[in-house]
């Protein structure tokens, strides 16, 4: 028998009870404790059931998405790989060549076609933004009859039934650069006895064509060659911003302004334009003084040329005396010195004025050199006189059928034509604009990215448009519609291909084809109109306020009013978004008793009420107002932006963005006049808080706070160019050398002298990087999301102000202040010198943004709505869409860097300089932005980093920015020829 040991007396006394207790001590089976009687098996069953139930309820809400593989894989289609198709931009008649980037069947980005002459690889802000129009959910998806959706067959039948051969048929369109389309229109109109095609441009250059009709015997628009111009005088022509073909002009202009050989540029203008901001010499000139100035210039140049006594004698007979007070002598000298390679351009839409311009260019021998009239431009063909006649016909009920193609006369013309007396009005508008709304039928055209078309922007250059996506709605190309109504249905592709059969494949691939164009029938220069122009010009100075109506860089004539990117793009000069406004000079503001945001009423026939923006550098008599605003298309922005208790809408009381200034236009002597003398302006007492992205406009700090000038933008002069740079101070480095950058070291160089401030980069970046639009209220709160901004600084006295544009993006600092302060390591340094932002690690303390000396970081204050499923198709799949509460910033387009590196790795070659082009660099017409590898001594960026003009912003902070800026070069005279002193002061 075993010995029974007992543990306590109690156990010995009552062994059974204690044994039970001892058992219980170690029987802590939790499952048994849950519920008496339940087993482990039972528990697992219950748990499993509950778990499955929870999982099932969780699953029920997930949308069913079907991913189906191709049954037959299309050739060359690799998922996730972009394809580029050459095409032509349809946002304006300039006809820039494009490469449309297509990912998985949808175009997501437009880039300039480097081989095409107009684009040269660049685009403008409007062109960049125009891709959003493709995904515009308010575009018409089928034809409309009487405002009701209809079918093409029905619409065709009804329209043909209402067309009679004897009625007056008028086809009103914008400039048509496409020979195919022109032929189609001609064929269509050929069916009628009384038919006419009237072209007009909302931004008219009709007077230039008319003036050449008078002086050269051919109604042509010269092809301006800024790349050949060593001296430029521009009279109110904003050729870097909006005038005729700004991408081409900006590129050519910049090419001639690379130091040390720099062209010289004088700008005479009333408002401050982008072009004026780049001029070496800017003379404030009201629009009503321009002709007088041109006459003066003509007289001076005629004197210098010593050739034309007849003109001079008639001038002196009319009391013209040359004065010395207006900067003209210097301008005349510079132009004359550069004769044969100088260029005088003028934006005024007045025939007499343009005749004088032609005369000056003729005297300077510029025809055939910087102005090509034999191979003219076709980018503006509108005829204001024909338009005026048509409007008259419409008013008096003499038009039976009116076709409106690519224009919006109701919103663009001074007096909206009434269609009551027109039997049939057909619009080809892609969306229901002001004119289409009043049309009997709307036969929507494709978006240009959906259509086959050809354009001939300049004689001899055929630029092709090819579709990069199947039409999203049941739209139809205008040429096809017209062909259907002509009784010979044909599709646009065949039509185009028949026209260029020989070069077809090559042309589609390249996007353009150069053809021998017949020389325009130009006659020798005729003096008679010059005499007339001089006779019509009064040497008397004008007085009173003058209204200058101009196209803004973002809105142009207003066809882009649907585009939120362009509304949020700050005006390059005033930095105002989401509004148009009346800009006045500081002196005028004082005398009117207004300041920024005060609403004034401007009366010139019609009246508009607009907030004031005080604009340094503006002529004291000029009130400038941008066209293209207050459009119906902007009504869609009523609910834009984050919605919360303190939210204010992006639209005004009328539900639109800005006010339409077109009613202030007028027809004068057969031309659409953009300047109006003798207007009335009065304060209304209301105020509007404008949405500005920059509210301090100079690098000089306020006087009472020190008044020093910050060396953020640095300048040099032409005279100092050759001098060696001062050796920079060598300082001891406290940072450890823990970033060896063994492979690549990405860097950027921005040439401030080249940058025109056109803002193409800003929109390009927005498209590339899926940057949200935040709306007027958020911009007003200074929360715009652009990763690249263009800082604009004024210097000098307000009447003779100098302007500097400085693109500012993340500087990718070597010792980045943002990196050290992020508590979660959401922003870190790459071994290639990039400052990386890891969105999903960011909790949003905003410390990094506070600590950024350049303030280039952007915070997602809200979940910015992306509710438009169609518009979301434009998103770049290579770039994450950021959520609320996350910091973001310029990445140097890291997705492009990766793509190029992968490509190089696959090919087994090193990444070549120029293989990687950031979106901003790619879009820049001026070539001001250069990206590359600083470790490669031969790369463009490394060379620029050694340039004598290079500096880094806030270099003293030793944050080691990877962006080099090249100083602006101001006209400081050349060796042996200083800038005339008296010249600087006036203007």
């Amino acid at each position: 028998m075993e010995t029974q040991y007992w543990r306590s007396l109690a156990e010995r006394e009552n062994p059974s009870e204690l044994a039970r207790a001892a058992e219980a001590e170690f029987s802590e089976n939790p499952l048994q404790q849950i519920e008496p009687g339940s087993s482990r098996r039972g528990f697992l069953k219950a748990a499993g059931f509950a778990f499955a139930g929870a999982a099932l309820t969780g699953c029920s809400r997930a949308p069913v998405e079907k991913a189906m593989p191709y049954l037959v894989q299309p050739e060359n289609t690799v998922a996730g790989r972009a394809q580029y198709y050459a095409s032509t931009c349809g946002a304006c008649p300039a006809g820039c060549g494009l490469l449309a980037k297509v990912r998985d069947g949808r175009p997501i980005k437009l880039e300039g076609n480097p081989d095409q002459a107009i684009s040269g690889g660049a685009t403008c802000a409007v062109g960049q933004a125009s891709i959003l129009g493709l995904y515009d959910s308010l575009r018409l998806k089928q034809p409309l009859a009487g405002g009701k959706p209809s079918t093409w067959a029905e619409v065709d039948r009804e329209i043909l039934a209402r067309l009679r051969a004897d009625g007056a048929v008028r086809y009103l369109s914008g400039t048509i650069t496409s020979p195919t389309k022109q032929a189609a229109i001609d064929r269509f109109l050929g069916q009628f006895r009384n038919a006419r095609h009237v072209m007009y441009d909302a931004l008219s250059a009709s007077a230039i064509l008319d003036a050449h009709q008078q002086t050269h015997g051919a109604r042509v628009l010269p092809h301006y060659r800024f790349d050949k111009a060593g001296a430029i005088a521009s009279f109110d022509a904003d050729f870097l911003g909006t005038w005729i073909s700004p991408v081409e002009f900006a590129r050519d202009y910049s090419a001639r302004r690379r130091p040390p050989e720099m062209s010289w540029h004088a700008q005479f203008e009333g408002r401050m334009s982008l072009t004026g901001s780049k001029a070496d010499r800017r003379v404030r000139t009201a629009p009503d003084e321009i002709r007088e100035r041109l006459a003066q210039l003509a007289i001076r140049i005629a004197k210098l040329s010593g050739a034309d006594d007849r003109f001079l004698s008639s001038a002196s007979a009319r009391g013209w005396q040359t004065t010395n007070d207006d900067g003209l002598p210097h301008v005349a000298e510079r132009l004359w010195e550069a004769r044969g390679r100088s260029l005088v351009v003028c934006g005024a839409n007045a025939v007499h004025t343009q005749v004088l311009v032609n005369y000056i260019n003729h005297l300077l021998g510029n025809y055939g050199a910087t102005l090509d009239v034999e191979h003219p431009s076709r980018q503006r063909q509108g005829d204001d006189r024909a338009l005026a006649n048509l409007l008259d016909e419409i008013k008096t009920g003499r038009v039976a059928a009116l076709f409106i193609d690519g224009v919006n006369p109701v919103a663009e013309l001074p007096e909206a034509p009434g269609f009551d007396h027109v039997g049939l009005v057909v619009s080809f508008a892609g969306s229901l604009d002001e004119s289409a709304e009043r049309a009997h039928y709307v036969c929507p055209d494709h978006h240009f990215l959906e259509s086959w078309a050809g354009a001939e922007p300049v004689a001899g250059l055929i630029s092709l448009t090819q579709p990069v996506i199947r039409p999203l709605g049941a739209t139809r190309a205008v040429v096809e519609t017209l062909a259907a109504w002509t009784g010979q249905p044909v599709n646009a592709y065949d039509l185009l291909r028949q026209r260029y059969p020989a070069q077809w494949d090559r042309a589609v691939e390249a996007g353009y084809v150069a053809m021998e164009a017949p020389r325009a029938p130009v006659k020798p220069f005729s003096m008679a109109p010059v005499e007339l122009a001089l006779a019509a010009t009064s040497p008397e100075p004008a007085a009173g306020y003058t209204l200058a109506l101009y196209p803004s860089v973002a809105m142009l004539e207003g066809r882009q009013a649907y585009n939120p990117w362009l509304h949020e793009l700050p005006d390059p000069i005033t930095k105002v978004t989401w509004d148009n406004y009346a800009s006045v000079s500081p002196a005028a503001a004082t005398s009117l008793g207004v300041s920024d945001g005060d609403v004034v009423r401007i009366e010139a026939g019609a009246a508009v009420e607009l907030p004031v923006v005080v604009q340094p550098g503006q002529h004291d008599r000029v009130i400038a107002v941008a066209l293209g605003y207050g459009r119906k298309a902007s009504e869609r922005f009523a609910n834009l932006g984050p919605r919360w208790i303190d939210h204010r809408p992006s639209v005004n009381d009328q539900g639109r963005v800005g006010e339409n200034a077109a009613p202030l236009l007028a027809f004068e002597q057969g031309s659409l006049r953009y300047d109006r003398a003798g207007i009335r302006i009065a304060k209304t007492g209301r105020r509007i808080e404008l949405a500005l992205t920059q509210t301090h406009h100079t690098l000089t700090v306020p006087q009472q706070l020190g008044g020093e000038v910050r060396p953020i933008v640095q300048e040099t002069t032409t005279a100092e160019l050759g001098k060696p740079p001062e050796p920079s101070e060598q300082r001891e480095e406290l940072w450890p050398e823990d970033h060896p950058y063994k492979g690549h070291r990405w860097g950027m160089a921005v040439d401030l002298n080249a940058c025109t401030g056109c803002s193409a980069c800003v929109v390009a970046c927005q498209v590339e990087n899926n940057t949200p639009v935040v709306g007027k209220d958020e911009v007003r709160r200074r929360r715009e999301m652009h990763w690249i901004r263009i800082d604009r600084y004024y210097s000098g006295p307000s009447e003779n102000v100098e302007v500097a544009h400085q693109p500012m993006m993340c500087q990718q600092c070597d010792h980045a202040p943002c990196e050290t302060v992020c508590p979660t390591l959401a922003t870190v340094h790459s071994d290639e010198g990039l400052n990386q932002q890891i969105y999903n690690r960011c909790v949003g303390t905003r410390y990094c943004a506070n600590n950024c000396p350049y303030k280039t970081r952007r915070f997602n204050w809200f979940n910015y709505p992306r509710e438009d499923r169609l518009a979301n198709l434009v998103l770049n799949p290579d770039v994450t869409v950021r959520t609320r509460g996350v910091m973001e910033k310029c990445t140097f387009c890291v997705q492009r860097i990766q793509e190029a590196k992968i490509e190089a790795k696959v090919l087994g070659t090193p990444v070549k300089d120029g293989d990687i082009r950031t979106a901003c660099e790619q879009a820049c017409p001026a070539g001001a932005i250069v990206f590359g590898d600083l470790n490669d001594p031969n790369s463009r960026v490394a060379r620029l980093a050694r340039d004598a003009r290079q500096y880094r912003v806030l270099e003293d902070l030793n944050v080691g920015p990877a962006v080099r800026y090249l100083k602006i070069v101001r006209d400081g005279g050349q060796a042996g020829r200083p800038v005339p002193q008296g010249d600087k002061k006036n203007g």
């Binding site: 303190d646 700090v701 020190g706 302060v821 508590p823 690690r841 952007r858 509460g885 912003v953 902070l957």
Partner: protein, 465 residues
């Protein structure tokens, strides 16, 4: 403890209290239903807190955009409130730890409530770093915790990470210190409640649990005193470290106006200044409402006013030094920031700060002022306002105009931010009022130890409960 008892000393506790009276006086408010005044205060504070809860809920649901911040001014009310509340939280530890080590016997009347105030202030402060983030639900990523993301650690170079340690350490130590100090008093109340009913009520049980079986024996007292002394030693460096680290949030940045080596001592002095200001505000109200005039005497008020005067002078010196440093540095950005503070768009805030923190406290040089409760109360309120503005000025005026003039912007708070600030005050006073109801606001055990000071004519009291 051996005491030097001089008949010349002014008594610390007035009214010739006996130990029993002390217990009676302190426990009285806890053992009877709250007064109408308390209810009024509580309703107001609780309503403010609910307003704050609504504002914060709305902000978390909608986005930080509901605040008036922008790309240039990324912090304003949020971090101002944070630094303000952390500063308020400094007085408690100062009074309980540093003054304890310096044997400042007068602290006994105020240390309990000052410590409670510290805890509530740090709670208020702790809210702001969490809600100021863009994604508050991920704010725990600021702590280094074991994880499966690599593992991914925090950035130990970031002052915000240091903040997490500093504030949480401070809260833990302060809470421990406060609780340890409470134990003898909890036992007193436990004992007083003992005879109330046959079955122990919840309240009795709680007091029984939290008094940790306190028996009042000499041995227990001895352990207690040693522990208290050690904790005081441990907490003392924290008084310096917490606000030093908070000041590094700014001092390690490159932004002119933030990047200054003077910040740690400047911030610590400012914190003590604001903390004592807040203690005075609360004490002056409490002594009146809870009839504690005998415990919190004019002498206490006077002593705290002297501390105010000292810290105000340090703060004033710091203000002047900042300007001198800017001038002497020759750095135009630095110089601009300070000119901009005094003359720029936020000059009004700067001059509120200077008037409240430097000019107004100069009155405290006068003994008559220091002993006039009404004036001291008004001054303490002004100091609270001034110190809030000090943080606002440092944060907002430095950010709103930094290096690139293109980015200069302004700042205006939204209703949501103002409500959040009001809510933090609501939370603070709600907690404090509840504290006044359920716990002894005066450290009975400690007060009893100093009853005899200045009362040599009386026999030395036993210090048992």
């Amino acid at each position: 403890m051996a005491e030097v008892c001089s008949p010349l000393r002014i008594p610390l506790i007035a009214g010739h209290k006996k130990a029993a009276t002390v217990t009676e006086d302190v426990c009285r408010p806890m053992l009877r239903p709250p007064s109408g005044l308390w209810w009024a205060g509580f309703t107001l504070a609780f309503s403010l807190m609910l307003l704050g809860v609504a504002a914060v809920s709305y902000q978390i649901a909608t986005g930080v955009g509901t605040w008036g911040l922008n790309t240039t001014v990324g912090w304003a009310f949020d971090i101002t409130n944070f630094v303000f509340w952390v500063g308020i939280g400094h007085a408690g530890t100062l009074i309980s730890a540093i003054l304890f080590l310096f044997r400042q016997k007068w602290r006994t009347s105020v240390n309990r409530s000052a410590e409670a105030m510290t805890l509530f202030a740090v709670m208020c402060a702790g809210i702001f770093p969490v809600i100021h983030t863009g994604r508050p639900w991920l704010a725990y990523w600021l702590f280094p915790y074991p994880n499966f993301r690599g593992p991914l650690w925090i950035n130990f170079r970031s002052p915000l990470a240091w903040d997490c340690f500093a504030i949480s350490t401070y809260f833990l130590i302060s809470a421990t210190f406060w609780y340890v100090g409470l134990i003898p008093d909890l036992a007193t109340i436990r004992d007083r409640l003992a005879g109330e009913s046959a079955r122990p009520t919840l309240r009795q049980r709680l007091f029984a649990v939290f008094s940790l079986g306190w028996s009042g024996s000499y041995r227990v007292w001895h352990h207690y005193e040693v522990l208290y002394l050690l904790l005081a030693g441990l907490a003392t460096p924290l008084v310096i470290s917490v606000h030093t680290i908070v000041s590094w949030d700014f001092a390690t940045a490159v932004i002119p106006g933030w990047h200054a080596t003077i910040f740690p001592p400047y911030f610590v002095a400012g914190a003590i200044f604001s903390g004592i200001g807040m203690v005075l505000t609360l004490m002056i109200v409490a002594r009146k409402v809870m009839n504690l005039e005998d415990y919190i005497t004019l002498r206490h008020v006077d002593a705290m006013c002297k501390l105010l005067l000292l810290t105000s002078s340090i703060v004033a010196l710091a203000y002047g030094t900042e300007f001198f440093t800017a001038f002497y540095s020759g750095n135009p950005y630095e110089q601009f920031v300070f000119r901009n503070r005094a003359l720029g768009p936020f000059a009004w805030a700067y001059w509120i700060m200077v008037s409240c923190n430097v000019l107004a406290p100069q009155l405290l040089w006068f003994r008559g002022v220091r002993r006039r409760i009404g004036i001291v109360f008004a001054l303490s309120l002004l100091i609270n306002v001034g110190m809030w503005f000090e943080r606002f000025v440092i944060i907002v005026t430095s950010l709103h105009r930094d290096f690139l003039p293109s980015s200069w912007a302004s700042y205006r708070p939204t209703i949501v931010e103002v409500s959040t600030l009001a809510g933090s005050f609501g939370l603070f006073f709600t907690c404090f009022l509840i504290f006044c109801r359920i716990l002894p606001v005066i450290a009975m055990g400690e007060v009893k130890a100093v009853l005899h000071v200045g009362q040599a004519s009386r026999p030395v009291q036993e210090t048992t409960v």
